[in-house]
């Protein structure tokens, strides 16, 4: 009893909910925040949970009524069957390579360009920025055919022979085209919020534009960079239509394609689909968990808050 209380007490203290050390309104707000966040997380995770329990139900039990929301006879057979037939490791690898390369390119170029747009009033600054944002308003679906033709013909540059069709490079190029404008724009807006006096101080400290940018401004732009990186990563991670058209084999196909393959034409085998979906979701979830501290610290650190 007493230990229970003390662990409860510890929990309360750890969550910053003890009225001893905190303002009562702060505690009240925190409580409300925890409650709301808890509710929200519960609601948005419920579908994932439902897919998960569907995936560990025996195939036949999936269609039981009433629906059981707690698995009674969990089984991994759906997973085993799927894994036997699917090179998921390859799809995951492709997704990872494509998404991370795209992210690196977009974040690098987007950050430096966004910074210049934010700080320097060079000729055409506004026009260029507007055209960058405007560029991304073209709906990509309208461009499937031209893109396919670019990628399936030997590239103009580099003296390479052979086309880029069904390579990760094709996807990376396509995705950077889509993501870069946004990266530039997000970073520009972010840098607008970083006080210019810090640039000046860096200059006084003997930094050239490059050095000041790299050593002072970049560390402070972490939240913006993190947001941009996540955006670029997830967009590439999730893209489907172009992956479908530009790739045709495991050497370049990504997870969304893998998932879509579970959809047979004429009936949906929900148990296996759910298992496949979980497997396809897993890299993302693991990725999220693994990088959570980077995501979180990226999104908060460097903050210019004074």
């Amino acid at each position: 009893m007493s230990t229970k209380q003390s662990t409860l007490g510890q929990l309360i203290a750890a969550l910053g909910l003890d009225t001893e050390n905190e303002w009562s309104h702060v505690v009240r707000e925190r409580l409300v925040a925890y409650a709301l966040l808890g509710l929200y997380v519960f609601v948005i995770w419920f579908p994932i949970y439902f897919i998960f329990i569907t995936s560990i139900k025996p195939t036949s039990a999936v269609l039981d009524i009433p629906i059981s929301f707690v698995p009674t006879q969990p089984t991994v057979s759906n997973y085993v069957e799927i894994f036997q037939n699917r090179p998921f490791e390859l799809y995951t690898l492709n997704s990872l390579i494509v998404a991370s390369t795209t992210t690196i390119i977009c974040v690098t170029l987007g950050t430096v360009t966004g910074y210049s747009f934010s700080r320097y009033d060079f000729v055409g600054n506004k026009t260029l920025l507007l055209s960058i944002v405007g560029a991304r308003m073209i709906p990509p679906i309208a461009l499937i055919v031209p893109f396919f033709s670019i990628m399936s013909n030997p590239p103009l540059v580099g003296g390479l022979t052979g086309s880029l069709y069904d390579t990760r490079i094709a996807l990376i190029l396509t995705y950077t085209f889509f993501n870069l404008p946004f990266a530039v724009w997000i970073m520009k807006n972010y840098f607008d919020g970083v006080p210019e006096s810090l640039d000046e101080q860096a200059r006084i400290d003997g930094c050239s534009r490059w050095e000041g940018f790299v050593k002072i401004i970049l560390p402070m732009a972490k939240p913006g960079i993190a947001a941009t990186a996540i955006l670029a990563f997830i967009f590439s991670w999730n893209e489907f239509v172009f992956a479908l058209v530009l790739t045709s084999s495991e050497q370049a196909q990504t997870l969304p394609i893998a998932v879509s393959l579970f959809v047979a034409d004429d009936f949906v085998d929900w148990a296996h689909l759910a298992a496949g979906g979980m497997i396809a979701a897993l890299p993302g979830i693991l990725f999220g968990l693994f990088f959570q501290q980077y995501i979180v610290s990226g999104l908060t650190q460097g903050a210019v808050k004074e």
Partner: protein
């Protein structure tokens, strides 16, 4: 025929290979686009393995989700790209592909083609050339829940549309609807099947849409079913999976579904050979024809490995392959003789085989140009009509005039 070495000099496909002529040497690999995952096509998978073993030509299978296969192919061909050699798809794509010069005639020879029933041969032949080798059949089979029938005192499946209605009254219970259709979320397919049963067709020989009269029979039938509550609510959204699921859940007394549902039902909990039964489709005003949705293999006109691809198309559609496919997967064979073979007879109940064979021989279909858009014009009118939200006559007339205009537009009329 298991002897694949007859023309098996596996010449390497030289880099300077030219397209178009049949005199090229045999490539040692081809790219095959399969609709959906081979996981769900074990029959095809087994046949591909046999092909590779016997010819030494390796087949690179590219699984493309069904919904996107046509897009992928269209994109590739609009670029005159040689990425794909052969693919597997339904017969109703043929007309558009052929009209665009995207497919290569298969030159399968009469001996091969004569294995298939006449109606099917016609379907894959355009301007006298064969563009698709039929691989396996897809058509509706009337399945019913025998236990439920017995409980409601119905001893025999309905033989005609009228019986569907009359027996439906008996079969209806609180939890169970008497009747549903496999094609139900593709209302066009449903419509076509019943149109054929009513003796109608979509187009006449000079490409004019002519379905309004026959269509009205279909609409009348449906209105009866709907107003008398003999089909479930929301019928328009019940895809094959949905109808099948509902059937297995015991909430449908009978269903017109493509055959694998039979196999699924036999495996399901609480089902078995005693409970599941099949019958021939109920006869409409004209016939018991079902809708033909057969899949076959075609070869790309832009392929650089046409010889190997054609060989593949032929191999995959031999009697043996057809039998294998049916054995492994339960896909209905498109060659009547397969149903009589001993292996198959021992594997499936004879009543089922009898109905399947009947369907194969009586199925109907049409190939017509601008199929997706024609279907779209149809669907947008008949879906609300089927649901009772629109006057059927008016819906059909609108659809017909829209299609007429489309055909004028593209120069067919």
């Amino acid at each position: 025929g298991g002897n694949g070495s007859s023309d098996g000099e596996s010449g390497s496909d030289g880099s300077g290979e030219t397209t178009g002529t049949g005199t090229e040497s045999m490539a040692d690999s081809i790219v095959f686009y399969n609709a959906g995952s081979l996981k769900y096509d074990p029959g095809t998978e087994a046949n591909i393995e046999r092909f590779e073993d016997e010819t030494g030509i390796s087949v690179e299978v590219n699984e493309v989700p069904w919904n996107n296969l046509k897009t992928s192919l269209t994109t590739i061909w609009r670029n005159k790209d040689a990425t794909v050699d052969a693919f597997n798809g339904p017969t109703w794509w043929l007309a558009d592909f052929v009209a665009s010069d995207w497919l290569e005639p298969l030159e399968l020879g009469d001996s091969h083609m004569s294995n298939f029933p006449k109606n099917l041969q016609n379907l894959v032949t355009l301007d006298g050339k064969t563009y698709m080798a039929p691989e396996f059949g897809k058509w509706g089979t009337y399945l019913y829940d025998q236990t439920h029938f017995e409980e409601q005192g119905v001893s025999e499946a309905p033989q005609t549309w009228d019986e569907v209605v009359s027996k439906g009254q008996q079969l209806k219970t609180e939890n169970t609807s008497p009747f549903a259709f496999t094609w139900s979320n593709k209302s066009v397919f449903t419509f076509k099947q019943f149109l054929y049963q009513a003796g109608g067709q979509l187009f006449n020989d000079s490409n004019e849409p002519v379905f309004v009269d026959g269509g009205m029979d279909v609409m009348d039938f449906f209105t009866k079913l709907r107003t008398q509550d003999l089909i479930p609510d929301g019928i328009s959204s019940m895809g094959e999976g949905g109808a099948g699921d509902t059937f297995i859940a015991g909430q449908l007394a009978s269903v017109e579904s493509w055959t694998p549902l039979g196999a699924r039902a036999l495996d399901a909990d609480g089902w078995g050979k005693d409970r599941l039964a099949s019958a021939k489709p109920p006869k409409g005003p004209d016939s018991r024809a079902t809708f033909q949705d057969t899949n076959g293999i075609s070869v790309s006109a832009f392929s650089e490995k046409k010889r190997a691809a054609k060989k593949f198309a032929q191999f995959m559609t031999t009697t043996k392959s057809s039998k294998t496919n049916m054995k492994v997967e339960g896909n209905p064979a498109v060659i009547p003789s397969v149903y009589d073979s001993e292996e198959i007879q021992s594997q499936y109940p004879s009543w089922l085989l009898e109905d399947m064979k009947f369907n194969l021989e009586h199925a109907k279909s049409e190939t017509y140009l601008a199929q997706p858009q024609v279907d779209d014009y149809l669907a947008e009118q008949i879906t609300p009509a089927l649901l009772g939200d629109k006057d059927p006559q008016k819906a059909l007339e609108t659809a017909q005039s829209n299609i007429e205009r489309l055909y004028q537009d593209i120069g067919l009329l």
